[in-house]
Symmetry: C2
Subunit: 180 residues, 2 copies
DNA sequence: CAATATACGACACCGAGTGACAGATTCGAC
DNA sequence: GTCGAATCTGTCACTCGGTGTCGTATATTG
């Protein structure tokens, strides 16, 4: 629907009035369904939702956090259906600054949840800085994988790229201690 | 000037007309100096400019890319003067989604430059995916350090945090190869 | 059928940002 | 110093995203 309009005229060049009219609504009614114009695009794309957070919570508490992130994200990566529409949506997002910003915003709150999940583990208490560092690094991996996948026009193996990235960017076995 | 208004009434609650009037201008003239309302805040803050990119280009070509990033960013971190105003600016940015988005946007184009700099090295040609992964990881470290520094109310040692993060998130010595 | 909740349209409004035009200011050539 | 050009600035009008308000249909429930 609205995605066709974006594909044809571009995101910024398409007004909310046009989107609404194409869907048989008013501008006012459009904003009753979507908090912002940008959110039409993210309706179909699963922006790494609550499932991942729950999966991390379900992992054994004594598992290496980085390994947990790897396992959960790897599994998630293999579950999602990477349709042709996902590809064009991602392309649109990448080429539109405001959409890019919106995606980042959604990822930011997701990261907070993941970071909390890592620190909520019983037994070992993880330093907030370390938890955020690991979480942000994992998010960066996701981001870079998506970027590469986009560059390959959807032909690249996302799961393989993810594994490679997780293996490459490996935290030190012995965590450097804070200075007192 | 305008930062005082933001500190008092908040970013979103301060209109451009008010900023302009406080500076003795018109709204129209304001937009002749700043492309967007958000850019007033980033005027004083050095959002990791061209200097870092040049420094990376100046590094020995056979140096480990991660080490180059570490060295340059570490040096940069020790050069910047982290004033009280920087702290309040960062606080404002963190608490305002639109400013957060703008910062991310600026960082994005910086990352592209850094990634290009890493790949432009003579001799070794780095895979685009790897280059972006390293660059994004370094940017993530910067981000996390800033976050932690902010949480400590500016008392934390940024350089030390940076060193710790770079040591913690260390790429594997042997880079995993791509599958054919 | 009546009462109430929910959805939608219509209208007015605000703030960010832009284009066009007119007047002022600065600055260099002569 | 004068003239003319370039630059700066204010004014007005306009677009577009987003919100508040209100009146009115269309269910939904008893």
């Amino acid at each position: 629907m609205a995605l066709d309009l974006f594909a044809a005229r571009g995101f910024d060049e398409t007004t909310v009035d046009e989107i609404a009219q194409a869907a048989g609504l008013t501008k006012r009614s459009f904003f009753r369904y979507f908090p912002a114009k940008e959110d039409v695009v993210f309706g179909g794309v699963d922006v790494t939702g609550e499932q991942v957070v729950e999966d991390i919570r379900a992992r054994p508490a004594d598992e290496d956090p980085w390994e947990s992130l790897h396992q959960v994200l790897s599994q998630w990566e293999r579950q999602i259906h990477t349709s042709e529409q996902t590809l064009s949506s991602l392309r649109l997002i990448e080429s539109t600054p405001s959409l890019h910003a919106r995606l980042y915003q959604k990822r930011a709150q997701w990261r907070r949840h993941v970071s909390d999940a890592l620190r909520d583990r019983p037994g070992v208490q993880l330093d907030p800085f370390d938890a955020e560092l690991l979480t942000n690094a994992a998010a960066t991996i996701l981001d870079t994988v998506s970027q590469e996948w986009l560059r390959s026009d959807g032909t690249a193996d996302r799961a393989a790229l993810l594994d490679r990235a997780f293996a490459f960017l490996h935290p030190a076995a012995t965590m450097p201690q804070k200075m007192p």
